[in-house]
Structures are given as structure tokens and as C-alpha cells.
């Protein structure tokens, strides 16, 4: 004869796949209803036990974001940053254990995050921090010398395409984000006032000898380099630059890319 079973015990134990989904919902969405019947209390509430895991996950991922976006964190203050980070983590949790990749979507998230809508430059400062972070972690690659161009027949030069060092990144903003970043970077915090009306910037990040460098480019050079980085042919990249400055010296600017150790491969 079967003994009567309490209603909560009648639930069939789910398979491991479903149980792990329920556990994930309990941690990320905070909803432990499906999971709770299968956990032991052992003298302490299940919520209290699950909170240890919730805190571990939120705390460690928040720390990852704080490390990649220190200037954003200073601009909005640590408490607000933590709130934004928690919201981001719940909405966009990592898809890989390689956490140096986690946060690529944070600038776009900030751009859409209603509480910081008035900080018009914030998401671009975040993009700049991600550009610098990506440059620091990018794979190593060996640059080639301009002599490689000698092997290209003159009639094929317009179709030339370049590959760049993985650390090279370009970013354009309507705000002086390099100055905003510089005044808020860790260890260099300053209280200087930056006039947003100064206007926009075009920036380039690279890594040389283990150090990440950031500098401004003028409009023609930025157009030239971003077209090449997008894998446009030399002719199209030159046209984009010449449109902004009819005096743009294509040969000299091409040579500069090699001199700066940025080119790793040429192809046609």
C-alpha cells in the first residue's frame, strides 16, 4: 500500500537539462519557483542558499565590467554603475567563459538605458574604453615591411587590400570623448571642465610593445584607415580620403601604415 504523499513531493524530478534551466532562472531572473521543490533546506532557507551563488555571479561579473569601464564608472559613480551592471548582466549574461570578451555589448546597452539618457556622451566613452580594452587583449601578430608592396604590379595596386594588427581599432564620436576619458581614467582623475561644444573626435587605438596608445586622426586619415580596416580596396579607401581633402597624399599615408607596424598582410 502506498503511503500518502505531500503535494510538493508529487512533482516528478526533472531531467538534468531542465533542472539546469530552472537553476539558471533562479539565479539570473530571481525566480526559484520551479527549482525550489528539488532543493534541501538543511536548516536554512533555499533563497538564502541560492543567494550565495547569485552574489558570486553578480559580484564577479560586475567586477569584470568595472575593470573594463573604469572611466564610465567614475562618471556615473560606483553605486549607479553597479545598478547598470546588474541590469546588463541579467539581460545579457556571458556566452563564453573567456571573460575578457564580456562587456562588448555594454556600450550599446548604456546608450539605450533610460536612466543615463541625459549623459549623451556616456555610451561613446564606454565604446572608447572597450576599444582600449580590446587593443590590450588582442592577439599578437607580426607586421610586414612596405617592401612587400614591391611585389605588387602597378596595375593591381588599386585593388590592394590590407590586413591589420588585431589591436588596431578606430572610433568616431560627436563628443570630445578622449578628453572626457583622460580626465576620468583610474589614477589620473581630474576635476577639469570639458566643454561638450568642443565637438567630435576621430580616434585610433593600437598596441605597441605591450602598451596601448590612443591618438586623434584627422578626417581624411580616419576615412582612409577605416575604409581599409573594413577591407575596402586601396582605390576606394583613397577616394574616401580624397573626398575630405583633395590634397591627401595616398602614397605617403600608405607608407605610414607600414612604418607604424600596423600592416600584417597584403592581398589582391
Amino acid at each position: 500500500m502506498r503511503s500518502p504523499v505531500a503535494p510538493s513531493m508529487e512533482r516528478t524530478v526533472p531531467g538534468l537539462h531542465e533542472l539546469q534551466r530552472d537553476f539558471r532562472a533562479a539565479l539570473l531572473a530571481g525566480d526559484a519557483a520551479a527549482l525550489a521543490p528539488f532543493l534541501l533546506e538543511d536548516g536554512m532557507s533555499r533563497e538564502c542558499r541560492l543567494d550565495v551563488y547569485r552574489n558570486n555571479i553578480r559580484g564577479s561579473l560586475s567586477a569584470v565590467l568595472a575593470e573594463s569601464f573604469p572611466a564610465v564608472r567614475r562618471l556615473v559613480d560606483a553605486r549607479f554603475f553597479d545598478y547598470a551592471a546588474q541590469t546588463f548582466i541579467a539581460a545579457r549574461p556571458p556566452g563564453s567563459p573567456c571573460l575578457h570578451d564580456y562587456g562588448a555589448a555594454f556600450p550599446d546597452f548604456l546608450a539605450e538605458f533610460p536612466p543615463c539618457r541625459e549623459l549623451v556622451y556616456l555610451s561613446d566613452v564606454a565604446r572608447l574604453e572597450w576599444l582600449l580594452h580590446s587593443a590590450a587583449f588582442a592577439a599578437e601578430a607580426s607586421p610586414i615591411a612596405a617592401a612587400a608592396l614591391a611585389s605588387v604590379p602597378a596595375e593591381e595596386t588599386p585593388a590592394l587590400m590590407l590586413r591589420f594588427h588585431p589591436s588596431l581599432g578606430l572610433l568616431e564620436s560627436a563628443w570630445p570623448i578622449d578628453r572626457i576619458w583622460a580626465a576620468n581614467r583610474p589614477g589620473r582623475e581630474s576635476e577639469e571642465t570639458i566643454d561638450l561644444a568642443e565637438g567630435g573626435v576621430r580616434l585610433e587605438a593600437t598596441r605597441r610593445g605591450g602598451t596601448v596608445m590612443l591618438r586623434r586622426l584627422d578626417a581624411p586619415a580616419f576615412a582612409f584607415r577605416s575604409a581599409l580596416l573594413r577591407r575596402s580596396a586601396l582605390e576606394a579607401a583613397a577616394a574616401a580620403a580624397l573626398e575630405r581633402d583633395a590634397g591627401f597624399d595616398v602614397a605617403a599615408e600608405l607608407g605610414a601604415l607600414f612604418r607604424e607596424g600596423l600592416v600584417t598582410e597584403i592581398s589582391r
Binding site: 524530478v13 538534468l16 539558471r24 539570473l28 542558499r49 550565495v52 556571458p94 570578451d101 590590450a136 598596441r207
Partner: protein
């Protein structure tokens, strides 16, 4: 800089240190006397400058790769892309030891950055065994599987954790990494006997021991230990470590410290204490065998 790859030396049965970012420049520059180093492969998968530093370090120290992200307990299987990244790193660094955890962190491709608990039943055992076999096959390397710290248990678990690990080793040929701190944390949290747990582990399969700090807190009037790797090894864990060595014999031991990371000399003193305890425990074990 070109140098012929050289297999990393075997990891010795002494106390090594977990390699952490802030110590890398000092270790590269001064080559302090550390028996061996263990690192998290996930931190070196971008193939950036961090990996170049490791290639320097591997010339001077035996290395162990201790994964935290493969999610051996995932019902959906392990992420083949991540496994391929790990294989590239193993080929490049040729570590003496490779290890992972008896836990899961991936569900439907979402990575939850923690070592989450498994129900200890036949389905989980079959799942973990399948994933361990896939990992060992891909890496061409026997792996060690570590007992995690736990804060909650499942109502439908049927197999005690040490027996689960012993059966996993029997089925897959993997070895075990006994984290004495984790074992203590879990046993205190669930009111079990840590020595009983240690004694139930298959001594011959233990390939490595971990030591770290935890913190004590109280929730709902009850003691809860949380494994945070943020302090010195506690006295009860040192006592348990001595007992573990008496049972397992000489195995590589590791000091882990991940939060509020201290200076390297603090870690080296913890390693020296582990070595001193090992000498005493192994002397005692030898005398016991002779008698």
C-alpha cells in the same frame, strides 16, 4: 623571439602557487623559488601579451592548467569551441597537469560565472563521465576533477560525493583533485564529517590537493562558510590537509588566493607551511608503514 618549445617539467609533489595577474611581472623578472605554478586557461585564451608572458614562465616553472569554464556537469554537453581553445593552449604550454571541476556553469549556452552544484544521481554521473571522456579525448591528456564548495543540496541526490568522484574516476580513468578547503566548506555547510569524506575518497586517484581561505558568516542564525579564496588557509583546513597527506601520500599541493591578492612573499610563506606539514605527515606515514 624564437625558441623551440620544450615540454613543461612534471609538476612535483610539493606546494605550488596559483599564478595571478598582479604577480606575473615579478615572477618573470625575479624568478622566485616556487615549486610550480597553476593558472586558469580562460585568462590566456585571447592569444595576446598575457600568453607571451606565460611562454617565458613555462621555461622556468612546471605548469598546471586549471579550467573553470568547461562545465563538465552540463546536460547539453561541453562547448566544443571552448574545448578547442583549451586544446590549443595545452598544445602550446604542454602542462604537467590539467584539471576541471565537478560542477556546471553553462545552461543553453549562457555562462554563469560560478561552479554550480549538481544533483548527485545516475543521470549526472553519466553526464559528467561523458563530458570528462570528451575532454580527455580532445586534449590527449588525463585530467583531474575537483570537488567544489557547495551551498545547497538536491533532494534527489542518491550518491555521496566521494563515491560519485570515485565512480567517475573508475569509469573515465580520470584522476581527482582534492580541494581540502572546498571539502571542509561543504561539510560544515551540510553538517557532514570532513574526515569521513576524505577517508571515502580513493587515495590512489588523488593527483593534486588545493588549499585556500574561506570566510565564516551567519545566515538565519546558522553558520555558513563561503569559499572566497580571499585569506590565509584556516587552521581546521591545515589539520585536514595533514590527514589528507597521511592518506594520499606525496602529491602536488596548491595555494590559491583570488580576492584581495597579497604580495608574492605571503603566498610563498603559505606554500612553505604546506611543505613543512607534508614533510611531517609523510615522515609519520613512513614510520607507520615501517612499524
Amino acid at each position: 623571439m624564437i625558441s623551440a618549445p620544450r615540454a613543461s617539467a612534471p609538476v612535483p609533489a610539493r606546494a605550488g602557487l596559483g599564478l595571478r595577474g598582479p604577480h606575473v611581472p615579478e615572477i618573470v623578472a625575479t624568478r622566485p623559488p616556487i615549486a610550480w605554478l597553476e593558472l586558469h586557461p580562460e585568462n590566456y585564451m585571447s592569444e595576446g601579451p598575457g600568453l607571451a608572458a606565460l611562454e617565458r614562465i613555462r621555461r622556468d616553472y612546471p605548469l598546471s592548467l586549471h579550467g573553470v569554464g568547461l562545465s563538465l556537469g552540463s546536460a547539453e554537453g561541453i562547448d566544443r569551441t571552448h574545448l578547442a581553445r583549451l586544446r590549443r593552449l595545452v598544445e602550446r604550454l604542454e602542462p604537467g597537469l590539467v584539471s576541471e571541476h565537478l560542477s556546471w556553469s553553462v545552461s543553453d549556452g549562457v555562462y554563469l560565472n560560478d561552479l554550480l552544484p549538481l544533483p548527485l544521481d545516475e543521470e549526472a554521473l553519466a553526464t559528467v563521465a561523458r563530458n570528462v571522456e570528451a575532454m580527455q579525448e580532445a586534449l590527449g591528456h588525463r585530467i583531474l576533477v575537483e570537488n567544489p564548495s557547495a551551498y545547497v543540496r538536491f533532494r534527489h541526490s542518491t550518491i555521496p560525493e566521494p563515491e560519485f568522484l570515485a565512480e567517475l574516476a573508475r569509469r573515465t580513468g580520470c584522476g581527482l583533485l582534492c580541494d581540502v578547503n572546498n571539502l571542509y566548506v561543504s561539510c560544515v555547510n551540510f553538517g557532514c564529517d570532513p574526515r569521513g569524506y576524505l577517508d571515502a575518497l580513493p587515495a590512489a586517484e588523488i593527483g593534486e590537493i588545493h588549499l585556500a581561505g574561506h570566510f565564516r558568516t551567519e545566515r538565519q542564525g546558522r553558520l555558513l562558510l563561503i569559499d572566497d579564496h580571499g585569506s590565509r588557509v584556516s587552521e581546521p583546513v591545515w589539520a585536514l590537509y595533514e590527514h589528507a597527506l597521511e592518506r594520499f601520500g606525496a602529491v602536488p599541493s596548491l595555494i590559491e588566493w583570488d580576492r584581495e591578492i597579497p604580495t608574492l612573499d605571503v603566498l610563498m610563506r603559505e606554500a612553505a607551511r604546506a611543505d613543512a606539514i607534508a614533510r611531517r605527515a609523510l615522515d609519520g606515514a613512513d614510520r607507520a608503514r615501517v612499524a
